[in-house]
Structure formats: structure tokens, C-alpha cells
């Protein structure tokens, strides 16, 4: 978990426009730890896709370095260990799913038979093996997304880069995909996932990288972020004024006659509970108040505007 599988250093990308140049990535540096799931977040136009395409050697950076497994990202050996699922579903629509997957699998260096066998396994696991005789153009958007996911993971890559993987999927299919992502990470794959669906990311990511206007805004473990975003402990009792007096050592805020908020870390919840019970107060509920990841990121982005 400590090895940096992807290392981006001082990445700069300028796009030439009619009137001068536009800097899309501005000295961006971050790393992705082996075996982790990293949520790559930012508003539209933040530079997420440009970063991903630079990592994949599709866009040539103006300056800076990208190392994957300690090597330059453009090396074939490196590319064979990467799986990529772009945001937009792109297919050779006239192809059959197995034909399409085997073609991409063999381009990744797999043997044809092996690619066929593993494709079939994945299609079965994803519940789309009944569509073998259907051309991709006749697939539903959900089925297309699943085929698209399979092509990214087919060759058992060590680094999987997913750009908006669950867009246009129904909740059930979203859950299924999140489950597979989690399983792949548990098996040792590293996943960099870019998504606008923060609630969904919150369920699976270990780290969060936020960028805006091509600059790194945040690179943090999710848990640390949650701790730092702690908004105290909310206590619901029969007498909030008395509870506030009992908890003199803490900063408290009385919301109404039954509710007060204690400015304390989540691990102090038991101490507070014990103290209030000792004084004979009737405690109806006690919970830590946490901001959602969405709100945390929104606040960070606002701060950096």
C-alpha cells in the first residue's frame, strides 16, 4: 500500500488557442498509492480529463513528468498494465461484444483464446452473456457501459483508470460496478476514478484528489478528510440546558430545549454519553455530525475560488 504506482510531477499543459495559449494543467503533482482507490474530483474544465489523457500518453504535456510503475508512461510495457474506460462510450458499433473484447484483449497482449475465455467469464459475471449474438449497436446504454468496463479490466491491469464509470447507469447497475471496483482493488489493482457522483465515490475511495483550474487543491485520505470535517456531536436529551452545564469542559451550542451540539471529536462520544448518564439525564440519541464528502469538496473549491 505504500508504493506509488502513479507519480505525476509538475505537470503543465498549454493548449494553443487562436489568441495565445491556455494553461489547462498548472504544475500539477500528486501520486497514487498501490492497491488504493483514488477519487479524482473537480468541476467541469478543472483538467481531469487532460490529466488522465496525459497519464495515458494521449496528450503530450508541455512540461513535467509522469511515471507509472517507476517508468515513463509511454513505454509499451507500462501501457500493457493499464486499463482505461473513457467517459464517452466508444465502440465499433457493428461488432459483436465478444469480437470487440477479443480484439481489444489481443491488442493488450492477450492470447486470442485467453481473451475469449476471460471475456466470456466477465460477461457472465456482469449478466450480459445472453447478448452474445447481439451487435453492440443494439445494446442498451447500461449493457454498453458494462462491455466498456470489461474492456478496461479484461487483461487484469495493475492500474485501472475510469472516467465517469457509472454515468447513465441505473442504481442497481451502479452498485454492481462499484462492487467490482472494490473487488478489483482488494485483488491488488489500483484504481483512479474520476466522477461527478461524489456520494457514489464516498462508498469506495480510499483517497481523494481534488483539482481545479489545473491545480491541485486537495490530496488526502478519505478518513482524514472526514475527521477534519467533523462538525461535533449532536445530543438529543430531555434537558439540553442542563446537559450544557454538565459538559462545561466542552464548547456547546444549544439548538433547542432537547438538542445541543458538542464541539468534540467522534472518539469522545462515549465519554460524553457516560457523563450525561451519570447525571441522570435521559439521552434519546447521540451522533457525530459529519459533512458529506460533497459538502467538504464544495467548501474546499469555494475556498480556492
Amino acid at each position: 500500500m505504500t508504493d506509488n504506482i502513479l507519480l505525476i510531477e509538475n505537470l503543465v499543459k498549454d493548449f494553443k488557442k487562436r489568441k495565445g495559449t491556455k494553461r489547462v494543467l498548472d504544475n500539477l503533482s500528486f501520486f497514487v498509492r498501490s492497491g488504493s482507490i483514488v477519487g479524482f474530483v473537480g468541476p467541469n474544465g478543472a483538467g481531469k480529463t487532460t490529466t488522465i489523457k496525459s497519464v495515458l500518453d494521449l496528450i503530450r504535456p508541455t512540461s513535467g513528468q509522469i511515471h507509472i510503475f517507476g517508468k515513463d508512461n509511454f513505454q509499451k510495457e507500462v501501457k500493457s498494465k493499464i486499463g482505461y474506460m473513457p467517459e464517452k462510450d466508444v465502440f465499433y458499433e457493428e461488432m459483436y461484444p465478444l469480437e470487440y473484447l477479443v480484439y481489444l484483449g489481443t491488442l493488450s497482449g492477450m492470447d486470442k483464446e485467453e481473451a475469449k475465455e476471460i471475456s466470456l467469464e466477465w460477461m457472465k459475471t456482469m449478466g450480459i452473456d445472453t447478448a452474445l449474438d447481439t451487435k453492440i449497436k443494439n445494446f442498451s446504454s447500461g449493457m454498453k457501459k458494462k462491455i466498456f468496463f470489461i474492456q478496461a479490466v479484461l487483461h487484469d491491469p495493475s492500474l485501472i483508470i475510469l472516467d465517469e464509470p457509472t454515468a447513465n447507469l441505473d442504481p442497481l447497475a451502479q452498485e454492481q460496478l462499484l462492487f467490482f471496483m472494490k473487488s478489483l482493488a482488494q485483488r491488488g489493482s489500483t484504481i483512479l476514478v474520476s466522477s461527478h457522483n461524489i456520494e457514489e465515490l464516498e462508498k469506495i475511495v480510499d483517497y481523494v484528489v481534488v483539482i481545479n483550474r489545473g491545480k491541485l487543491i486537495l490530496d488526502s485520505p478519505l478518513e482524514k478528510l472526514r475527521e477534519e470535517s467533523n462538525k461535533g456531536i449532536e445530543v438529543n436529551v430531555n434537558n439540553s440546558a442542563l446537559a450544557a452545564q454538565i459538559l462545561l469542559n466542552y464548547r456547546t451550542q444549544i439548538i433547542d430545549k432537547d438538542t445541543l451540539i458538542v464541539d468534540a471529536l467522534p472518539n469522545e462520544k462515549n465519554n460524553i454519553l457516560k457523563l450525561l448518564i451519570e447525571y441522570g439525564l435521559e439521552i434519546r440519541s447521540i451522533s457525530t455530525r459529519k459533512q458529506s464528502l460533497w459538502n467538504i469538496i464544495l467548501e474546499i473549491l469555494k475556498e480556492n475560488e
Binding site: L56, L58, S80, I82, Y84, P86, E94, L107, Q151
Partner: protein, 284 residues
């Protein structure tokens, strides 16, 4: 090399579809019609006892239909549209992303497309050219003339490969550097017209003759067409009898060095330049 073959085979496999079949059938049928119309006119003016002249007329008519039609106008229209979208469509639709993020270099991708298109059109031309003589035989022309028609087909087939090789290189160059297919197609058309028809148009302006044969015929002098001397001599004499002067003739005869430069060196240099430019560009 393996990746180049895979990209090329995928191109061929995806394009051997109903559209290609319709194209083949259309060219076959229209070629047969043109062939029988042109030979029926010639028959009436010839001495039927002179087998050599008969042979020349069948082969000559077949060669003219081949040059103008099978590997002529429709061929270039079809080829140009394929070429114009060959790279640009893959990049704009995103299918190129999935290939280039795998251990496939940009060089392999471009070369795969180049060879895929060249082989695809060679295959299509081959199907048309080698199917026609047997069909002509089935439709009543004596089997005596079929070997010379087959030899003409063979000459046209090789000529088609060279045309495809040269124009595929140019077309892929346009498609990989210009995003708008319409511009690529237009440029290709202009180039094709410049290559074949401009000298003729200039000459026809003076003599009001429209028979765009001589501009093609440069290749006939280059090719080892010793096996169809009657056809060639017929075309040459036919052309010369109509042509205003021999001063505006495209490289006829062309020196082997010029032939080598046009047919091999030029496409290879074009593809190398294309590879260089494509390796520098961003695939967005």
C-alpha cells in the same frame, strides 16, 4: 508487426459488409454493361476472321472499362471517402483512444490503417477483376478470349495496388492531420484530378475530344504487360489517332526511376511524415 496486422485485419473485417457487397455488385454490373456496349460497337467495324484484332478489341475494351470504371472514377470516390475518415473518425469518435491506450504505438496504428485500407481495396478490386472474365464468358463471349481478359485483369489488379498504395498514403496523411473529413475528401479529389485529368482537359480544350485514356496509359508502359501486346498497341494507336498531339502526355513513357519515385518513394515518404506529425499531436 503483430499489432499492425491486428489493426489492419480489424479494419478489413469491419468493412467487409453489405456496403462493400453493394459496391462490388454495382461495379460488376455496370462494367459488364459498358463492356458489351463498347465491344458491340467495335465488332461491326472489324474483320471477324482476324482473331488477333478480335482479341485486341476485347482486351482493349476490357482495359478501358477497367481503367475508367473498376479502378477509375467510382474506385476513387469510394477510396477517398474511406481514406478521409480513416483516422479522423477514429480520433473524433474515441475508438482510437482505446487502441492507443493499449500497448499499440501510434506508428503501428497508422501503419495498420494504411495496410488495412490497401489490402481491403486490393481484395475488392481482385474480386471484381477476376470475376468479370468468367462472367463475360458465361454471357456468350468465347472462352478463347478469356485468357487475354484474365491477363488484362491481372495488369489492372497490379495497377490498382499501386494506385491504392500511393493514394492511401496521401489520404491517411490528410486524415491524420485534418479533422474535417470534407476538407480531406476535397483535397484528395483535387489531387486525383490533378494527377489524371488536368493534362487531358487542357488538350481537349484545344481539340474538343474527350477520351481520358492517355493520361492513364503511362502505367501501361511501365508495367510488364508483354503478355497483352495487342491490347496495348490497340490503346496506343486508338489514342494517338484521336489525340491532338503527343506533346501533352503524362510521362509516356515514364522512366523506371520516375515510376519508382512515384509509386514507392513518394508514398513511403508521405507515410513517414504522417507518422512524425501524428506522433506529435494530442489525441483529445
Amino acid at each position: 508487426m503483430n499489432k499492425i496486422i491486428q489493426v489492419a485485419l480489424n479494419f478489413i473485417r469491419r468493412n467487409l459488409n453489405l456496403k462493400s457487397l453493394i459496391y462490388i455488385l454495382f461495379i460488376l454490373l455496370s462494367s459488364l454493361i459498358f463492356f458489351f456496349i463498347s465491344t458491340s460497337n467495335l465488332h461491326s467495324n472489324l474483320n471477324e476472321n482476324d482473331l488477333r484484332v478480335w482479341d485486341s478489341n476485347y482486351s482493349g475494351a476490357f482495359l478501358i472499362v477497367g481503367l475508367l470504371w473498376i479502378i477509375g472514377i467510382p474506385f476513387f470516390v469510394y477510396l477517398s471517402f474511406f481514406l478521409a475518415k480513416s483516422i479522423s473518425d477514429e480520433v473524433s469518435s474515441g475508438t482510437a483512444l482505446l487502441i492507443l491506450t493499449r500497448p499499440v504505438s501510434r506508428k503501428e496504428f497508422i501503419l495498420g490503417k494504411f495496410f488495412g485500407i490497401t489490402f481491403f481495396f486490393t481484395l475488392i478490386n481482385g474480386i471484381i477483376l477476376f470475376t468479370l472474365p468468367p462472367i463475360i464468358n458465361l454471357l456468350g463471349v468465347s472462352a478463347v478470349y478469356i485468357p487475354s481478359l484474365m491477363l488484362t485483369s491481372l495488369a489492372l489488379f497490379f495497377y490498382g495496388i499501386i494506385l491504392c498504395f500511393v493514394f492511401s498514403a496521401i489520404g491517411i496523411f490528410f486524415s491524420s492531420t485534418i479533422n474535417k473529413n470534407l476538407i480531406s475528401v476535397s483535397l484528395l479529389f483535387i489531387l486525383i484530378i490533378l494527377s489524371f485529368f488536368v493534362p487531358f482537359i487542357f488538350s481537349s480544350m484545344n481539340k474538343d475530344i474527350f477520351f481520358p485514356l492517355k493520361p492513364f496509359s503511362f502505367i501501361l508502359d511501365l508495367f510488364p504487360l508483354k503478355f497483352t501486346p495487342s491490347s496495348i498497341s490497340l490503346i496506343d494507336s486508338f489514342f494517338d489517332s484521336f489525340y491532338w498531339s503527343n506533346t501533352i502526355i503524362i510521362a509516356n513513357p515514364v522512366s523506371p526511376i520516375l515510376f519508382f519515385l512515384i509509386s514507392f518513394i513518394f508514398p513511403v515518404v508521405t507515410i513517414l511524415f504522417c507518422l512524425y506529425l501524428f506522433s506529435k499531436r494530442d489525441i483529445t
